[in-house]
Symmetry: C2
Subunit: 439 residues, 2 copies
C-alpha cells in the first residue's frame, strides 16, 4: 500500500495555534497516510503563525516555518491554502481571510462570527478569484452538516432548518435536568471545569448559536446570509422548576436555533430565532444530551434529515477543518453557499406575531385568592386557551409557581396576555415564555 | 434571479420506472430551477427505459425519449449519466452498469445488492474510464451517509460503523413494542398496508441490511468490500415477551448492522454482523422509531457522528439519487469508495468467539424445581455471570420464560452455555441470544 506521490502535496499555512490549531497539527500527523490515500495526495502544513511564538502548546512545532506577521501568511510562497483559526468577526482574522482570497488561495476557517458577519463578501471574493472558501468547522464542530446541506440535501427545497447549536448550553441544560440544579450553579461548575468560558455570554445568550443558524439558513434557503435578522434569547432565566414542570408535562428544555421560510404573506420571508424551547420526548432533539450538537433539515423530498455529533472540542473541530482540506486536495470545491453569490436571494424578514405554536408560560405569583382567575381572564381576553396547568409552591415564602402549556395560538396572544398582566401586583418577577418545538 | 444557462445541461438516462424512478422524475420537475442554481447547470432527463412501456405510472412520460432495449441506454447519443434503478445484483442492472462505465459515462445507482456484490469491480472499471460511480441512494435512502463518510469524515480513522439500516425491520420492532404484538402479526399487518414486501425475507432476515453494511464498512475502513463476510441474523424469532423484558431491563430491541476493525491479534481484521441487539435507552439508536434509518460512525478525531433520516420511500431515495447527479453536474466526483480501488485493503475476517459484550439470553423452560439451577450451573461452568434475571410465566401451559442479561464476557461463553444445555429437557424450544450494543 503506497502513498500516492505523483501529485504534489497540498501546502497549508495555519494561523492560530489554540486548541483547534494544535488539534489540526496532531490530526495531520496521526492520520497522514490515511488522509493521503483518501485525498489522492499528501496534505502538508508548511507555515504556521500565532500571536505568541514562545508559548508551550504541547506539540512540536520545530518542523514548521514560523511566520511572525500573521498577515504575511497570505503571501508566503507556494501555499495552496490558509487555515484561519484566529477567531473574531473582524480584526486580524478578517484581514487574513481577505488577503488570502485576494491572492487566489483557498481559505478554510472555523470562524463562525466572521462567516456570519462577512460570509457574503468573502464568498463573492472567493468566486471572483476562483478560490475555494470552506467553513465546515464553523458550524456544529465535527458534524459534517455544511456539506450535508450543500451537497447531500442539494436536490431539496428546504423550508426549515433547526437544531441544538451550542454545546455549552446543552451541557448546562442537561446537567440542570440530571441534578435538579438552577442555572447559575451549573454554570459556575462548568466554568470551574473549563466546559464554559469565563465570559460565557456569547454562548449562554444565544449569540454563538445565532452565528451558526444564520450560516445554516443561507445554505438551506439559498438566501443571502442575514445574521442581523436572528432574534436571540439565551438560557439565563431558566429555573430548575421550569425543567421539572416541563418534564412533568412530557418535554425537555433545549436551546433551539430555528430558521424557516414563512410564506404566509404570499412571498417568501425568512424567520430566524434562537431561544429555549420545550421539545417533546418523541422528538430526537429531546435525547441530545451533554455538549452534543444536532441539526435537523427538512427537505421537500428527503424529509427530515438529522446530523448529530460533537459540537466543539479540539479533535472534532480539527476533523471538520481537515475534511475541508481533503475536499480542496481533491478539487471538489464549489460555491461556498452552495450556489454562486449572485444567485442568493435577499429575503425580507418575517414578523413573529402571527406565528402559531403551543407555548409554555411560567409565572411566580403571590399565593392568594383570585390570582389564577386574574391570569386566566387575561388569557381568555387574548384568545389563548390552556392545554395543561400546574400550580405548585414556589418556596417557603408564600409564593406559588404557575406553569402551563397553551393550545396552539399566535404569538401575539401571548404578548397580549403578558401586556395585560404587566402591572398586576399578583406577578412576582418576570414571566417566562418558551415555545414548544413542533413535530 | 436567472438560471445559469451558459453551461450545457447534464443529460441523464433513467433505467427503471418504479416508485424511485418516478420519484426522480417528479423531483427533477418540481425542484428544477433550484437544482440548476445549486448545480450550476440544468439537470435534464433525456431518455428513459423500463420493462413495460404501457404501464400507467402516474407521471407524464411523453416528453422523454423511450428506449426499448434497456442495454441500449448505455450508448444513447449525448448522455452524460445513466441512473440505474432496475435492481437485482446481476442481470440487466449489472449489464447496464458495466456498459455505461465502459462507455466512459457516469453511473448513479440505488442498487445496494449490485454494489455489495460487484462494487469493487465497478469502481475499478469507473476509474479506468475516468467515469464517476455514485451510489448514495443504495444505503439508508435519503440520508447522505455515503457522502458523510466519504467526505465529511474523510480526516478520520474510523474503526466502527453501525446503525439501523432496514426500515421495514425497525417499523416492525417499533410497532411490536408500541402495541405489545408478536412478530408474525405485525408483519402481516405491514404487508397488508404495503410497508413490507410480499416476500419479506431480504428485509427481515437481515440481507438488505447486510448489503448496506458491507458498503459502509468499505468506505469507512478503506477495505475491499466483503459482502460474503457479513454474518446476518434477522428478526423473525423475536417475541413480544423479549421486547417487554428488554424494556424492563432498560433496553429497546433494534436490528443493528455493525462493522468494526478488530485489532486484537496484532493485525487489522474486519468484523461485520447484522443482528437484533438490545440498545440502552441512553443511546440515540434506541429512539429511532418507525421506518427511520440511522448510521453511527466513530472517527478517531470526530468522535461519534450520527446520520438519521428516512431509510426508504420514493421521495427520500430520489433525493439521494439527485444529490449524486448534482455532484456530477458540479464535477465534484472522485473514487467511489473514497480512495482509488488499488489502495483498498483486503482485510481478513475476524472471528466472533473472543468478542466481548453483555448479552441477553432468553429461554422458555419447563416450570419445575431445579431448572434455574441447571441453567445457572451451565453458565457458571462457561464462566458467564449474570447481571440481571427475570423469570415470568410464559403462558397458561406450565412453562416459564427466563430472560437475563449477562455481565460482559466473550461470545464463546454464551456458545458454551448453549452447548451444555442443548440436550436438556428443561428447555422448550430454541433459546434466543441477543448482544447488547455497547455505549
Amino acid at each position: 500500500m503506497s502513498t500516492p506521490s505523483r501529485i504534489a502535496p497540498l501546502k497549508v499555512g495555519l494561523a492560530g495555534l489554540g486548541t483547534v490549531g494544535t488539534g489540526v497539527i496532531r490530526l495531520l500527523e496521526e492520520n497522514s497516510a490515511l488522509i493521503a490515500r483518501r485525498a489522492g495526495r499528501e496534505i502538508q502544513i508548511v507555515a504556521i503563525t500565532a500571536r505568541d511564538r514562545t508559548k508551550d502548546r504541547g506539540v512540536d512545532l520545530s518542523g514548521y516555518r514560523w511566520v511572525d506577521d500573521m498577515g504575511e501568511l497570505a503571501t508566503v510562497d507556494d501555499l495552496d491554502v490558509v487555515v484561519e483559526l484566529v477567531g473574531g468577526a473582524d480584526g486580524p482574522a478578517l484581514t487574513l481571510a481577505r488577503e488570502t482570497l485576494t491572492n487566489g488561495r483557498a481559505l478554510v476557517t472555523a470562524n463562525k462570527a466572521m462567516v456570519a458577519h462577512h460570509g457574503a463578501e468573502l464568498a463573492a471574493l472567493a468566486e471572483s478569484k476562483q478560490a475555494a472558501l470552506k467553513f465546515e468547522a464553523a458550524v456544529a464542530g465535527g458534524i459534517p452538516v455544511i456539506q450535508g446541506l450543500r451537497d447531500g440535501a442539494a436536490a431539496n427545497r428546504i423550508d426549515r432548518v433547526y437544531g441544538i447549536l451550542n454545546g455549552t448550553c446543552n451541557f448546562i441544560l442537561s446537567t440542570m435536568e440530571r441534578d435538579g440544579l438552577d442555572f447559575a450553579q451549573v454554570l459556575s461548575d462548568a466554568q470551574a471545569k473549563g466546559f464554559a468560558e469565563s465570559d460565557p455570554s456569547f454562548d449562554i445568550d444565544g449569540i454563538d448559536a445565532a452565528h451558526k443558524l444564520s450560516i445554516l439558513a443561507s445554505l438551506s434557503f439559498g438566501s443571502v446570509i442575514d445574521f442581523g435578522g436572528v432574534e436571540a434569547r439565551g438560557v439565563r432565566k431558566i429555573l430548575a422548576a421550569d425543567i421539572a414542570q416541563a418534564k412533568t408535562l412530557g418535554y425537555r428544555i433545549r436551546l433551539i436555533g430555528l430558521a424557516e421560510i414563512d410564506g404566509d404573506n404570499g412571498s417568501a420571508n425568512i424567520f430566524q430565532r434562537v431561544e429555549p424551547c420545550l421539545v417533546p420526548l418523541s422528538h430526537p432533539l429531546a435525547h441530545v444530551i451533554g455538549a452534543t450538537n444536532a441539526v435537523v433539515a427538512e427537505g421537500n423530498f428527503s424529509g427530515r434529515l438529522l446530523f448529530q455529533g460533537a459540537g466543539a472540542g479540539d479533535k472534532p473541530t480539527a476533523s471538520a477543518v481537515v475534511a475541508d482540506l481533503v475536499d480542496i486536495a481533491r478539487k471538489e470545491t464549489g460555491p461556498a453557499f452552495s450556489m454562486p453569490s449572485a444567485e442568493l436571494e435577499k429575503l425580507p424578514r418575517a414578523a413573529s406575531a402571527h406565528r402559531v405554536s403551543k407555548s409554555y408560560l411560567r409565572m411566580v405569583v403571590a399565593d392568594r385568592v383570585g390570582v389564577l382567575a386574574e391570569i386566566t381572564a387575561a388569557m381568555r381576553d387574548a384568545g389563548l386557551s390552556i392545554e395543561s396547568l400546574i400550580q405548585t409552591e414556589a418556596g417557603d415564602d408564600g409564593t406559588a409557581l404557575v406553569a402551563m402549556v397553551t393550545h396552539a395560538g399566535p404569538e401575539q396572544a401571548i404578548n397580549d396576555t403578558l401586556q395585560a398582566l404587566k402591572h398586576s401586583d399578583s406577578l412576582l418577577g418576570e414571566p417566562m415564555v418558551m415555545h414548544i418545538l413542533g413535530a
